[in-house]
Subunit: 244 residues, 2 copies
Amino acid sequence: MRKIKMIVEYDGSNYHGFQSQKNAHTIQDTIENALYKLTGHKIPIISAGRTDRGVHALGQVIAFETEAKIPSDKFYLALNSVLPEDIRILNSKEVETDFHPRFQAIKKQYSYYIYTKDSGKTFLRKFAWCNSEPLNIDDMIKACKQFEGRHNFLSFCSSGSSVKTFERTIEVCQLQQKNAYLKFDIKANGFLYNMARIIVGTVVDVGRGKIKVNDINDIIKARDRNAAGSTAPPQGLYLMYVEY
Amino acid sequence: MRKIKMIVEYDGSNYHGFQSQKNAHTIQDTIENALYKLTGHKIPIISAGRTDRGVHALGQVIAFETEAKIPSDKFYLALNSVLPEDIRILNSKEVETDFHPRFQAIKKQYSYYIYTKDSGKTFLRKFAWCNSEPLNIDDMIKACKQFEGRHNFLSFCSSGSSVKTFERTIEVCQLQQKNAYLKFDIKANGFLYNMARIIVGTVVDVGRGKIKVNDINDIIKARDRNAAGSTAPPQGLYLMYVEY
């Protein structure tokens, strides 16, 4: 039995998130159906992150075991031939049989895009948060920096999470303005449920003047979801890469 | 009876082109249905250009007559409230009753995008021609310039067109490389059926080494569709603006 690791890119617009659910169209089910079509076997896959409905990925990582005779480094091409166009496997390779894409991940990076212009929104409505309200970008850039370091991020975790520890280390939390886009890059050793989207939503509330830059530390210390800002919508979020 | 002119942006991915057709989902039908919903009247619209299935617009122009009491400059907001998200009216104003968006257009500009990278294609498959084959960009830039000027463009017109004259003046035909994109801008006093896409397809054939830069003039002179290159796929094409 070989274990195969794959890097997966997907447009999450038409899916109810990554994780398999009853009566819902998910990325996991779609990939598992494709593996069944290809190999004739039901092969469960494990992912590095369970992205929400409407969230995208450029570097999701999945792994699974298989007895199929397809060469490991060509497996992605075979799988792409039976996958829909909005899910693409970028590469595949054989890994140690104890490899676990979620438990062994040491860092993850998410990016989040806000599109700030009115014209062109039609094309970006599923791929960015289209938000043309006036925002104080300098304050937002400063606010981002407050998130860096090791903190208890309970204030930035939606309910429904089953984790027990809320300490995470954010290595990079930065915002750049690029033409009509605001691009957030958040790199951490782990993310709580909705953490990236609540950080972005809170930073946007700083840009709106609803929250002060200097309040970010108090919001972190509060360990209370109600202390933080809104949750940014899913379509701006991209799982960029996972480090092992 | 007032005449209203509107600038329309649309993602053409889910439509069978602009023009109304039996048993097909078109942009025209969708806008006319929205006008009916808004005013209670069947209002026919006329457009500057009849874009094909899958082609997009950032600056399509439409006009129609109405007796509805909605203020002209607010009409677009009312119409957006009953239109689907992939069609957005950018503005509206009252014009002379003899205004005709197609016959009075003096210039039109189309842009065409080729995306040349492999990663990220998942997000661009409906918004650019995703083509990562090696292309000689310098030759393509030179080939574009050959199209500028007044020519008979019969070699660059698909059959099925009802026009009688094939002379058009291309003011600008340029190609720029921007990061992972190749962007064509073609500005002319008019376009024949599929003209922009056949020019792009022919220039790509130059990039592939199938057609030589110096052959472009002979292809134009041939006045024969078979002399030119392939028709580039629709999803890379955008109607950018119309001048009156």
